[in-house]
C-alpha cells in the first residue's frame, strides 16, 4: 500500500503501458476482452489521478508527489516526476479523456489489439510530458507520443491518411529538432537536466559567453528553438497546416485525443519550460507571440468558416481556440509578477481544459454523424434535428460550449484571457475580437447545415438516434463544461494557486 501511495505518478504513467503489455498476450479474436482491458487500464489511471488530486495540497509551494531515481547518470538525467496545479489539471484532462476515447473506439473492428495497444502507449507518452520534471525525460516522452499517433492515423485513418500522417510526424519532428539541440546544450552548460535545478541555475547565467558566443545570443537561439517546437504543436499560425489534415484523417478517437490533449502539450511546454527558463526572452518577444496568437485566432476562425467538411471545420476551430491560450501566455510573459499575468494564465490553462472537453466532444459528435452517414460534407446534411432530437440538442450544447457561450466553461476561460491580455496587449486583443466573431459564424454555419433547414430526404429512415454507449461518452464532458460555466472554482482553485505561485512573485 505504501509503495502505491509513494509511486502514484509512476503508476498513473505506466498503468496504460502495463495494459498494453497485457493486451499483447490476449487473443486477438476476443474483441470484447481487448476493448474492456484497454478501458480498464485507462480507467485505473484516471482513478489514481483522482487520488492524486484528492491528496494534493493547494497551499504548498513547489511540486508534489515527487519521485526521483537515477536514470541516465552519465549525463545526470534522472527519472524525476512531480505535479503542480497546472500539470495536475492537464493530467486529469488526459486520464479523463482517454477512457472516453477508448470507449468511442469500441466500434473499431479492424486489428483491435494493435489499435488499443497504440492508444494506451499514446496515453503514457502524453502523461509523461505532463509529469516529467527532467528536461531529457520530457523530451523523450514528447517524441514517444508521436509514434503511436502516427500509426493510428496511418493505419486507421481516412482516405488521405498517408499524406496526413506523414505531414503530422515530419512537421512535429522537424519542429522538435531545435528542442533536442537546445535541451542538450542546456544540459551540458548546467550539468543537470533536473527542472527545479534548471529553473534556478539556467536563469542565473546572465553574463559571460558560452561556446564562444555571448550568453544573450545563445539564450535567444535556445529560446526560439523551444518556441518553434511548441508552436508547431499548439499550433500557432503559420505552423498550423498539419493540423487540419491530421485531425480530419485521424479516426474519431484519434481526433479527440489530438485536439483534446496533444495540442495542450505545446501550450504546456510554454508554461512549464519557456516562461520559467527564459523570463527575459519571453518578456522581450511577448509582443510577437501575442501577434501570432491573435493571428491564430483570426485565421483559425476564418479558416473554419471557409470549410464545407464538418470535421475540417472543427479542426480549424482548434487553431482559433488555442490562439487564446497563446494570447494569454504572451500577456503573462510581459506582465509577469502582476495579477494581470495570473488572470491571463488562469484563463489560458482553463481554456486548455475547456477546449480539451469541447473539441473532443465536437470531434466525437462529428464521428457519430459520420458513422451513420459516411460523409462529412456539410452540404449533404440538413434538417436532421427533427430526426435526431437528442443528438441535435447535444450538438447544440457542445457547439455553444465551443463558441464560448457564457454559462459554459469556455466563456470563463476566454473572459479571463481577454480581460488579462487586454491590459497588456490592447491592440492584439481588440483585433482578436474579429476571430471571436467568426467563432460564432462558423459554429452557426455548422448547425445551420447539419441540424436546420429543410430535411434532406436522402436520409429518411437511415439515421439512428445516438446510442447509450455514445451518451456515456459525451455526457461527462458536458457536465464538466456546464459546471465550469456556473461554478468555475471547482477547478480554478487548483489552477489559480499554482499560477499565482509562478506568476505573482
Amino acid at each position: 500500500m505504501q509503495w502505491i501511495s509513494e509511486h502514484l505518478l509512476t503508476l498513473i504513467l505506466f498503468l496504460p503501458t502495463a495494459g498494453a503489455v497485457v493486451l499483447l498476450f490476449l487473443p486477438s479474436r476476443n474483441l470484447k476482452l481487448l476493448r474492456y482491458t484497454a478501458l480498464t487500464a485507462s480507467l485505473l489511471s484516471f482513478i489514481l489521478s483522482l487520488a492524486v488530486w484528492a491528496g494534493f495540497r493547494g497551499g504548498l509551494t513547489g511540486f508534489q508527489f515527487e519521485e526521483q531515481v537515477a536514470w541516465y547518470s552519465v549525463v545526470n538525467a534522472t527519472y524525476h516526476l512531480g505535479v503542480d496545479g497546472i500539470s495536475l489539471a492537464l493530467v486529469l484532462l488526459t486520464t479523463f479523456l482517454t477512457p472516453l476515447a477508448i470507449l468511442t473506439s469500441f466500434n473499431i473492428t479492424d486489428r483491435v489489439k494493435a489499435y488499443m495497444i497504440l492508444f494506451l502507449l499514446l496515453e503514457t507518452g502524453m502523461l509523461g510530458v505532463f509529469l516529467s520534471l527532467d528536461l531529457l525525460l520530457f523530451f523523450v516522452f514528447w517524441e514517444v507520443g508521436l509514434v503511436p499517433m502516427y500509426f493510428l492515423i496511418n493505419q486507421w485513418g481516412g482516405t488521405r491518411r498517408n499524406y496526413a500522417s506523414l505531414k503530422f510526424i515530419l512537421f512535429t519532428m522537424g519542429g522538435s529538432l531545435g528542442l533536442l539541440l537546445a535541451t542538450q546544450m542546456i544540459g551540458v552548460v548546467v550539468g543537470s537536466y533536473d527542472l527545479p535545478v534548471l529553473f534556478e541555475r539556467w536563469t542565473a547565467i546572465t553574463e559571460g559567453s558560452l561556446f564562444g558566443l555571448p550568453v544573450e545570443t545563445v539564450k535567444t537561439i535556445t529560446f526560439w528553438a523551444f518556441v518553434v517546437a511548441f508552436a508547431v504543436k499548439v499550433p500557432i499560425f503559420p505552423m498550423h497546416t498539419w493540423l487540419p489534415d491530421a485531425h480530419t484523417e485521424a479516426p474519431t478517437a484519434g481526433s479527440m485525443i489530438l485536439a483534446g490533449v496533444l495540442l495542450k502539450l505545446g501550450a504546456y511546454g510554454f508554461l512549464r519550460l519557456v516562461l520559467p527558463l527564459f523570463p527575459q526572452e519571453s518578456y522581450q518577444y511577448a509582443g510577437w507571440l501575442a501577434l501570432l496568437g491573435a493571428l491564430s485566432i483570426i485565421m483559425g476562425g476564418l479558416g473554419a468558416f471557409g470549410q464545407d467538411d464538418f470535421k475540417r471545420l472543427v479542426a480549424y476551430s482548434s487553431i482559433n481556440h488555442m490562439g487564446f491560450v497563446v494570447l494569454g501566455i504572451a500577456a503573462a510573459a510581459r506582465a509577469i509578477g502582476s495579477t494581470t499575468a495570473v488572470m491571463a494564465v488562469n484563463g489560458a490553462v482553463l481554456q486548455m481544459l475547456m477546449h480539451g472537453l469541447s473539441s473532443a466532444g465536437m470531434f466525437f459528435l462529428v464521428g457519430v454523424l459520420y458513422d451513420r452517414t459516411h460523409t462529412r460534407d456539410l452540404k449533404e446534411f440538413g434538417g436532421l434535428y427533427a430526426t435526431l432530437p437528442v443528438y441535435g440538442t447535444i450538438l447544440l450544447f457542445v457547439s455553444m460550449a465551443s463558441l464560448g457561450l457564457p454559462g459554459l466553461g469556455g466563456f470563463v476561460a476566454e473572459f479571463q484571457v481577454v480581460v488579462g491580455s487586454w491590459q497588456v496587449f490592447p491592440l492584439a486583443t481588440a483585433v482578436s475580437m474579429l476571430g471571436l466573431f467568426f467563432t460564432g459564424a462558423y459554429v452557426l454555419k455548422a448547425i445551420k447545415k447539419v441540424l436546420t433547414g429543410p430535411f434532406n430526404e436522402k436520409w429518411t429512415g437511415k439515421l439512428n438516434e445516438i446510442t447509450a454507449r455514445e451518451l456515456v461518452v459525451i455526457i461527462p464532458p458536458m457536465i464538466l463544461l456546464l459546471l465550469t460555466g456556473l461554478l468555475p472554482s471547482w477547478i480554478m482553485e487548483l489552477i489559480n494557486q499554482a499560477v499565482s505561485r509562478w506568476f505573482l512573485s
Binding site: 487540419p244 488572470m343 480581460v419 452557426l444
Partner: protein, 726 residues
Amino acid sequence: MTIQTLVWLIPLPPLLAFGLIVLLTHRRRKLSHGLAIGSAGVSWLASMLVIIQALRMPKLAQTPIVSDIAWLPLANDPIRIGILVDPLTVVTLFFVSWTVLMIFIYSVGYHNFGQPDGEHDRPGLPPKGAHITDANGQAQHVPSVEPMYSRFFALISLFAFGMYLLVVTDNLLTLYIGWEVMGLCSYLLIGFWYAKPSARDAGMKAFLTTRIGDVFMLLGLAALYQVTGTLNFRATLANPAVLGELAAATSPVLGLSWAGLIAILLFIGTIGKSAQFPLHVWLPDAMEGPTPVSAMIHAATMVSAGVYLMVRFFPLLTAGWQPGEALTPAMQVVATIGTFTAIFAAVIALGQNDIKRVLAYSTISQLGFMLAAVGVGSFVAAAFHLVTHAFFKALLFLGSGSVIHGMEHGVMHTGEHLDPQDMRNMGGLRRTMPLTFWTFLAGGMALAGFPLVTAGFWSKDEILAGAFNGGNWVVFVTLAVAALLTAFYTMRLITLTFLGQPRTTAAGHAQESRREMTLPLAVLAFFSVTLGWVGIPQDFPLIGGILPNWLDEFLGGMLLTHGEAALHHSNIPLWTSLIVALGGLTLGWLAYRRQAAGQVDILERGLGPVYSLIQNKFYVDELYSLVFIRPAVWVSETLVAKWIDLGILDGILHGIANFGLWLGRQLLRWIDLLVITNTGNAVASGTGKFGGWLRRFHTGRIQQYMVMAMFLLILTGVLFYALVLV
C-alpha cells in the same frame, strides 16, 4: 428567509423548469407548460415580494439590497458576483416579471394547447392544422397543436432566466452572462421553426448581428476592469471619486476619456442588442419566430436589456457632465444614434404591410427614443419609457398574434390562400375580435402617445421635455417628427386592421382568440393605461401635483448629481406632445379609413419611388450583403482556406518536401551511384582479385606450406629484431 436570499432565488425557477422540461417532461405537454408557467409564477411572486419590501426601504438608492459570493478565484482576491436591488432594479423587475408571466400564459393558447395533432405537421415547421369531423359529422379544418410544444416552453423558460439574471445582478460579468444566454435563446426561438429556411436564416442573422455588438461590449468590460479593477456596479457607478478619475483620465483612443471610451464600447453592445442603426437589421427578420417570442424579444426582455445597460451605466456615460452643459462626446454618440434610429425606423414602419413588421420597426424607433433620452442626460425619462414601452409593446405584439390567429382561423374556414399577417387582407376585425380590438387600441394609443389617459404619453412627453430643456434642439425636433410618424403609422395599423369593412372573406370569418390569450392582453392593457400616472410632472397644467411624481423621486435618487433637467421651464414640449400625437392619429385615420381591397396605399400614390425606398428598408440589407457578408465569405473560403493555407503555407511545405526529394535523388545519383557504388564495386572486385591472387598459394601441397611458414617465420624474426630489439 432574508430578502437577499429571495433575490438570489428569483432567476432560478425558470432555469430549473428549463432543465426539467428538457430532461424529463419534453414528451408531456401539460406538464411542460405547467412547469414553465409555475416557475414564471414563482419568480413573479418572489419579484413582487422583493419589490414591496424594497419600496418600504426609505433610502433604497443609497443603501440598496446587496449580497455577493466569491465566484472566480484570481490570485489572492477572487472576482465576486452578487445581487443588487436598487430603484432601477425595482422598476425593471416590475415590468419583467409581469410581462414574462403574461407571455407564458398567452403561449399556451397561441400554440393551440388541447387541439388535435395535425396530420401533416412535423417538428421544425409551423402547424398546418388538422382535419376533424365535428359532432355533427361535418369535416372541419381546425388549428393543430405545435409539434414542438414542450421545446418552446423550455426555451422561453431559459430566456426568462437570462433576463432575471441580468436584472438582479450586481456586476457586469453576470449581466453579460444573462445577456448572452438571452442571445442564444433568441437565436433558437427566432429560428424555432428551423426547417423553414427564412426562420433559420433570421435566427442566425440575429445571433451574428448582436454578436458584433457583444464582442465590443466584452472589450468594454475588459477596459472597465483594467481601469477600476472591478466589475461591480456600485463600486464604480455609485462612487464619485472613481467616476471623476475616469472622466479625467484620457484613454488612448481618439482622445476620449476612459469613462467615454468604456461607455461607447458598452453602447456598441446596446446597438446590437437593442437593434439600433446600423445593427438594426436583425430585428425585423426576427418576426419569423412565433409571436410570443416577438413579444419577449421586443418588449419584456432582450431589446430592453440593451437600454437597461445604458440606463444602468448612465453615471459612467455622463461622468464629468453637469445638467445644462454641452454633452460629452460619448453622450453625443448615444444621442445621435438614438435620435437617428428613432426617425429612421419610424419612416420605414410607414411602408410595411406585415402587421408584425410594423411593430418591429416601431420597437426599433421607440428604443431610439429611450437612447436619445439617455444621450441627452434624461435618466428618469429613459427608464420611464423603458417600462411603459415594455407593457404596451408586449401588449401590441401579443395582440397582433391574436389578430393573426383570428385571421388564420378565417383562412382555414374559407380555404383562401392569403397571408394572414398582411394588413391589407384585414379590416373590420373590431366586430369579430372585440377583446383583441379594445386592448390593442389601448396599446396603440399608448404607443402613439394619446394624451393623459395612456402611459406612453407621459413617458414620451418626458423624453421630449428632457431634450428641449437641455437645449438639444436637433434631438427635440427630430424626436417630435418621429413621434408624429409614430402616431400616424399606429393609426394606419389600427385602421387597416380593425376599422372599416373586412377586405377579404377570411377577415370576415376571423374569430376571437381563446381566454389564455385574451386575459394577458387585458392585464397588459391595464398597465399600458395606468402606469403613466406614477410619473406626472409636478408642474403639469391642471392635474400636476394631484398625484406626486413618485417615479422621478424614486429613480432620481440614484443619481449622484440630482437635478437633471426634468423641471419644466416651458410648456412647449407639452404642446408638441399633444399636437404630434393627436395630429398623427387624425392624419392616419383620415388617410386610411376608406382603404379598399386592392387599392394602392395612399403613401405609395403620394411618394412614388421614395415609397419603394421605404418599403425596401433603404436597401440596408442588400448593402450589408454586398459590403460585408459576401467579402467575408470570400475571405474565409477562398483567401484563407484555399490561397493562404492550401496555397502558400502548404505550398512552401510541399516545396521543402519536394526539395528534399530532389536533393535525395541528386545525392543518390551523384554521390551514391557515382562515388559510393563505384568505390564499393572497386572494393568488391579488388577483393575478388586479391582472393584470386591468394588462391595461387593454396595449392594443397604440404611441402609448399612448410616452405611458406618457414619464410614467414624468418621474416617475422628479422623484423622483430630490427624494430624492437635494435
